[in-house]
Symmetry: C3
Subunit: 329 residues, 3 copies
Amino acid sequence: MSRTLGELSVLLQARLVGDPAIEIDSIASIASAQPGDLIFIDDPRRLTEAEASQASAILAAEFATTSSKPLLIAAHPRQAFARAANWLTEAASPSPSIHSTAIIHATAQLDPTVTVEEGAIIRSNVHIAANTTIGAGSVLGPNVTIGRDCHIYPSVTIYPGTTLGDRVILHAGAVLGSDGFGYVRDTATGRYERFPQIGRLVLEDDVEIGANSTIDRGALDETRICRGTKIDNLVHIGHNVKIGEDVVIAAQTGLSGSSTVGNQVIIGGQVGIADHVRIEEGAILGAQSGIPSKKVIRGKGIVFWGTPARPIKDYLKDLATLARLSKEK
Amino acid sequence: MSRTLGELSVLLQARLVGDPAIEIDSIASIASAQPGDLIFIDDPRRLTEAEASQASAILAAEFATTSSKPLLIAAHPRQAFARAANWLTEAASPSPSIHSTAIIHATAQLDPTVTVEEGAIIRSNVHIAANTTIGAGSVLGPNVTIGRDCHIYPSVTIYPGTTLGDRVILHAGAVLGSDGFGYVRDTATGRYERFPQIGRLVLEDDVEIGANSTIDRGALDETRICRGTKIDNLVHIGHNVKIGEDVVIAAQTGLSGSSTVGNQVIIGGQVGIADHVRIEEGAILGAQSGIPSKKVIRGKGIVFWGTPARPIKDYLKDLATLARLSKEK
Amino acid sequence: MSRTLGELSVLLQARLVGDPAIEIDSIASIASAQPGDLIFIDDPRRLTEAEASQASAILAAEFATTSSKPLLIAAHPRQAFARAANWLTEAASPSPSIHSTAIIHATAQLDPTVTVEEGAIIRSNVHIAANTTIGAGSVLGPNVTIGRDCHIYPSVTIYPGTTLGDRVILHAGAVLGSDGFGYVRDTATGRYERFPQIGRLVLEDDVEIGANSTIDRGALDETRICRGTKIDNLVHIGHNVKIGEDVVIAAQTGLSGSSTVGNQVIIGGQVGIADHVRIEEGAILGAQSGIPSKKVIRGKGIVFWGTPARPIKDYLKDLATLARLSKEK
């Protein structure tokens, strides 16, 4: 739905320089902007480029005080832009409906505002709260509980007993609550037998999981992803892992069984975390680093890199030393 | 189904210290145990904690001879616990049925004890043996053959001609028998053309494949995963690969085309194995190691680490040398 | 459909030594060949083995001038073999049909020659051109456009607004056009908020995407994979990435947001490319290499390896230096 610049100014707590009656329909990049679009810049050097665009208004920080286009001046223009985007697209959500091809067990309890898309399968004793969407072809096993305002994209599989909080987003192809990788080796034959994987998986509020990522349930107890944590595509999380609040994990990273990650940790792409590792609050793991079994990584705001991971200054020093020695000989 | 401690004692070949009439319904962790649960410990220091739990009985090794709770004493308590779990959950499997929304080709041959869940698609000339379950939304291409007691979870895709043995488990989102990554480059234009990928994929008995893993069929011949091998989530296995018996491959590892892996090899997570590599029987590859094209890795019980992978003592020595030299200068 | 050796000789521009009336039904490997099969060799040492096979004819280069079997002599036998395979399997494509369980929106426009398999879901304003197949259970969001002669395998999810050229192949479980991994951190609370991900994804002609790979759409603008590029299984491509023409990317490689890859680049498996990286035309990245944020990799035909990636001769020299120093001390 469209908003006037005046309304956006109030919603974003942004100072308006220009006509409050101008209507904004959407957001865009500078390159693709059309009339009716709001764009943003966080670098003064892009102001000229922004003014030359087709956009109807520019969201910027204090550096832009006058312009040939209407301005919204916000303390954090990137954040204000993200919020503007949410308000402008708010009304786009369709009215709730259960598609006739969805298969919903008689014992499942869905709030009347839930949307279930084509061919989705909802098993016994599933609970789904208000305004949640279940994507086409997704499968929710028995005793799954899903909070309100969640968006489950198509082809997601949720194993039995998994619990999701509110505002959780699961992208297409994600698998939640699958059996962990745990076996007992028969001492006589050398063959592997399955160790029981009967625990559960809990995702708290505001968690987002990327496409085709996989998160195993606990073996006997639980795997838990805490509030506000964002996980990218093709990430693997093993059984009994606990990930804290507001953690960010980039694509293709993997965490083995029973590891824990503190609040506000940032983990790059393709990082490998072995079993029983502890990453403490606020640490930062560079892309492709590797943390061996049972290690503890500690240091708020400190970047670790390499395999085995060490503080980045040590890693870079090692690289420089090696380069120098290679050149000498 | 519940068992008495007396029955479990016989089944597990475990010595019972306590009342054989006590009923056990389920297994649990120490932390989550309720009355009716069996728990296990393999560390004497946890006995006090186990005794303080709500569990009805404790499975332990010889170190525990007396306790405030009934004891089952087994030579290998972890393994006995896994088996107890299987017996206690045995009766939980539902009676076989073909869901009305499943689409099964007239030429497919399914044993009467097969279960086919909602929306599963079974193409021409598929054969499925006794007690196997085909998960919701899974797609079995023409000429797929599946043994008995298999469990195919939802949203699995099996390309034409793939063969599975007995007791195979495929977790959600796995893709089996997809086309390998093989091209011929046109010498004149520099463009890539597909090399034929018309071979097949064979999974032998007792193989387990994790969620969203992908295994390509052979280009002209076959890809084969031998008996008892266990593969974790998000693993990639290329065309013409042969993996031996009782191999374990952790999450996010990838094997390129035409590599072979001997029996009882253990491969950590995020390991990369290039094409035409040979990993010989019993070798152990540490997480994130990399094996360059055409290399041979040999050594039963020897751990290899790093890229290119070398015996772990050499790798650790290299790291120590580098750290020392960095400190010196 | 079968072809005579005479016909194949003309189609492949290959010189025939033998009876032009012999019928060829299929291709095969030397080991699996049956009468009616064509096999190929590109190594003179395999001629004896090829002659001992059951095959009806051998495709080879000039090194084979006489043989006990009919010969097709081509300048590039591997390429000729790939083309022969295409011609022999050409007639195998089934006649087009829309399965009764497919769910197609009234506003979708499908060419009459399109095939839609069981349970596929095609949303509003989707356009699909001639001879394209949409696999079972695949989901095409609103405003998706797909060219001619494409093959979408089962369980593929395509997010709204994605555009595919002609002859595109998407293997099972691939996710196209998913939301990028972009957040704004609230300066006051430390919580992450979604940055808008409303751009689009374009795959040009002749692109192939492997099983369970994920490609995000642009945040505000587009992600683009150019003509002829081939991408293996479990690859991740972030938002705003641009990949050039005739690029090859092996399995489990990941590219972060806003990176660009020039034409004819070759990228090995498990390579990690951070954000805003530029890989210039014709560079070659060895398996598991890592390219840090904002780096430029330049050098046609030069192989880079390691993390951070450097020319392979430097990387190997570093390894040799380290090994020598470790031995000394």
